[in-house]
């Protein structure tokens, strides 16, 4: 996994609640043989018109926001299915930081598996950030620094956000959960040995044929 230590760029305001994973990556793309092109139709119902052309009103289609690295959006973002394609689609569009009042749980977790930073902030703060993101008079640059857990807005306002140490470390160092857990395999083996005497039925399923 690549590192995410800091990020600077434009933030796209998407003031809408409950954007679900079916909007971000509609089910019809999930049977694709490849998943590295999920961004091509990400947000399809919002981003494209019925004739397949781009919807000029959608924020990420506006010239100023095409290269956005941040997305600021309403509450319960990424609710719905467990599909990790939702994170891949967003990341493929160049967005590495999503700021919302709340997130779907699984989506939130999936972000950290893909070096995307989800930040939860109170509703009032989100509204203020959206106003700043939508104001094209200034430099429009948002910045995030993972080490200090700080978000800096174009006006220079600095906001500290919550991030647990393990997630912070994995972003900073680009660490992969699987490799880490495999180092602890002796613990798993010990757990199973003891558990087998406690709950043997978990391990002896009988024949599945």
């Amino acid at each position: 996994m690549e590192k995410l230590q800091s990020l600077a760029g434009v933030a796209a305001p998407l003031p809408r609640a409950n954007i679900d994973t079916d909007i971000i990556t509609p089910m019809k793309f999930l049977t694709n043989a490849r998943f590295d092109n999920m961004h091509e139709r990400a947000f399809e119902p919002l981003r494209f018109l019925a004739d397949g052309g781009e919807n000029p009103d959608f924020i990420l289609n506006k010239p100023r926001y095409r290269n956005a690295k941040f997305l600021i959006t309403g509450r319960n973002f990424g609710c719905g299915s467990s599909r990790e394609t939702a994170v891949w689609g967003i990341k493929g569009l160049g967005i590495r930081c999503v700021i919302a009042e709340s997130f779907g749980d699984i989506f939130f977790n999936n972000c950290f598996q893909n070096s995307v930073l989800p930040i939860r902030l109170p509703a009032e703060t989100i509204a203020e950030l959206m106003a700043e993101a939508g104001d094209d008079q200034g430099n429009m640059q948002f910045q995030v620094d993972v080490a200090t857990r700080t978000l800096t807005t174009p006006s220079g306002r600095s906001i500290t956000f919550d991030l647990t140490v393990d997630r912070q470390t994995s972003l900073l160092e680009g660490l992969d959960d699987i490799a880490q857990t495999m180092k602890d395999d002796a613990d798993t083996a010990a757990f199973q040995t003891e558990d087998r005497t406690e709950r043997p039925w978990i391990y002896d399923l009988g024949t599945i044929d």
Binding site: D20, D22, K28, T31, N76, R199
Partner: protein
């Protein structure tokens, strides 16, 4: 490790604590995974990832795979009947075989939707920790299991390590007391709850459903309740195991047998929440207040009693909710202020991991018996598993459906998600017993109304959304 009995604990805490392999600090634990269910949509992809990393499946004997999302539901189908089915189904079959993972292939007498098959075979057990790369894994909590849906990276993690890293969620108890009215089903109970609490109310929480209404429910009904937990953001939903659970499980092929059963049952009886245990949040509902539900919008929380009036966006306090209602009404082609009953429908889908078990099909068949599907409606019944199909046919339910003009199809996810190509056409309106009415869920521009099986069958007969309680009684065997 067995649950300790020294302090008051919730069912959730007992389940969680008995699976901690190692604490990773800050509320993060490494948990042992007892059961992993694998389906065609994410399974072969995850196994490919695993192989590419040079890793192998740590405990294939604790896994079970089957195709469900991509398979065709066409009578007489094979993997080749659905374009995606061939590639995804064959890949899952071959990769499962290579990894030593037990597999219920398309021709297997136990094939079906993962969330139907797990409980009905005894693969899902009380006190077990079960995960699957599918958000509706919360379903299995109805067995007294700790179960939730995981993402692709987590799935590879579980395959490689038989563990999962998880932050301990908060706890919430939803108590439903009293007796349900005639024609009110488990689906109505959970839609009512989601409508009342809002689609984000459960976020970050593990829910326990309790109370006399839940206690009186069959396992199948509890599975329906837990299935929709994810639709209000909860990662897991569960019901404490009780005599109903043990009666359901005893003798199932993958459940413990003989002395192992006795030991297991003793253990399971130690799991339920202590009387004085404390939850982070409590909500209570009265069964009498719950009417048959039908959703009007594009989120499961946008639900109404079937005799209700379609709400106007202005009736919501928050601007965001107003906006959501406005866009939902527009997408659904509905007019605020009108009754929802009487809305013409084009399709009815009775199926999905929410409502395609035997008891669901019995409910729908009761309504269908001796009646005819309206001329303007295409109505499907898709049993959740081969076993459900077999049992339903043994009771003659398929004859009732066929005589009434329903199609009787093969098991799978089918029109719940339309991955197999079985879409609801653009602009068509479908009453569906599934769990998601999101924009485009059943196909581009498809309009979905969620309801229970009796209400769905009633809509098929009436050709419009209708109150199942108002259907005139029929006589005869149809």
């Amino acid at each position: 490790m067995p649950p300790t009995t020294t302090e008051a604990k919730t069912l959730f805490e007992n389940l969680w604590d008995s699976h901690v392999v190692r604490s990773l600090g800050e509320n993060l634990d490494l948990l042992h995974v007892d059961r992993l269910l694998i389906h065609d949509l994410s399974g072969s992809r995850a196994l490919t990832d695993l192989n590419e990393r040079g890793l192998s499946v740590r405990n294939p004997e604790l896994c079970l795979s089957m195709p469900d999302h991509s398979v065709s539901s066409l009578p007489g189908r094979t993997l080749a009947s659905s374009p995606n089915g061939v590639r995804l189904g064959e890949a899952l079959r071959d990769m499962s075989a290579a990894a030593g993972i037990p597999h219920y292939g398309i021709d297997h007498p136990n094939q079906g939707i993962v969330h139907i098959v797990g409980p009905e075979t005894g693969f899902t057990l009380p006190g077990s920790l079960l995960v699957c790369g599918d958000s509706h894994t919360s379903t299995h909590g109805a067995m007294g299991a700790l179960a939730w849906g995981i993402g692709s990276s987590e799935l590879v993690h579980v395959l490689a390590t038989q563990t999962i890293r998880q932050r301990r969620p908060g706890t919430m108890r939803i108590t439903v007391d009293g007796e349900l009215g005639d024609g009110v089903e488990a689906k109505d109970v959970i839609l009512h709850i989601i409508g009342a609490l809002g689609v984000a109310a459960g976020t970050g929480n593990a829910i326990e459903y309790a109370g006399t209404t839940i206690g009186a429910m069959s396992i199948e009904e509890r599975l329906t309740i837990c299935n929709l937990s994810i639709e209000f953001g909860a990662r897991m939903g569960m019901v404490a195991p009780d005599d109903t659970t043990y009666a359901y499980l005893k003798g199932l092929p993958l459940a413990p047998q003989d002395e192992a059963w006795d030991r297991a049952e003793t253990y399971w009886r130690s799991l339920p929440t202590d009387d004085d245990a404390v939850f982070d949040r409590e909500e209570t509902f009265r069964a009498e207040d719950i009417a048959p539900q039908i959703t009007w919008g594009t989120s499961p929380g946008q639900t109404l009693p079937v005799n209700g009036i379609i709400p106007s966006p202005g009736s919501f306090v928050e601007a965001e909710m107003q906006y959501n209602a406005e866009t939902a009404l527009d997408y659904m082609g509905l007019q605020a202020g009108k009754t929802i009953a009487g809305t013409k429908v084009d399709r009815v889908f009775i199926g999905s991991c929410t409502n395609s078990r035997l008891i669901d099909l019995r409910r729908a068949a009761e309504v269908a018996r001796g009646r005819q599907v309206a001329a303007n409606v295409t109505a499907w019944v898709v049993p959740g598993s081969v076993q459900v199909k077999r049992e339903a046919e043994a009771e003659g339910l398929h004859d009732i459906f066929l005589a009434a003009g329903f199609e009787w199809r093969e098991p799978g996810c089918s029109q719940c998600v339309a991955t197999n190509g079985e879409v609801v056409a653009p602009g068509e309106r479908c009453v569906s017993t599934s769990n998601r009415n999101f924009v485009g869920r059943q196909g581009p521009k498809a309009r979905t109304h969620l309801a229970g099986p009796a209400m769905a069958a009633a809509a098929a007969i009436a050709g419009e959304i209708t109150d199942v309680r108002a259907l005139a009684p029929t006589t005869g065997e149809g």
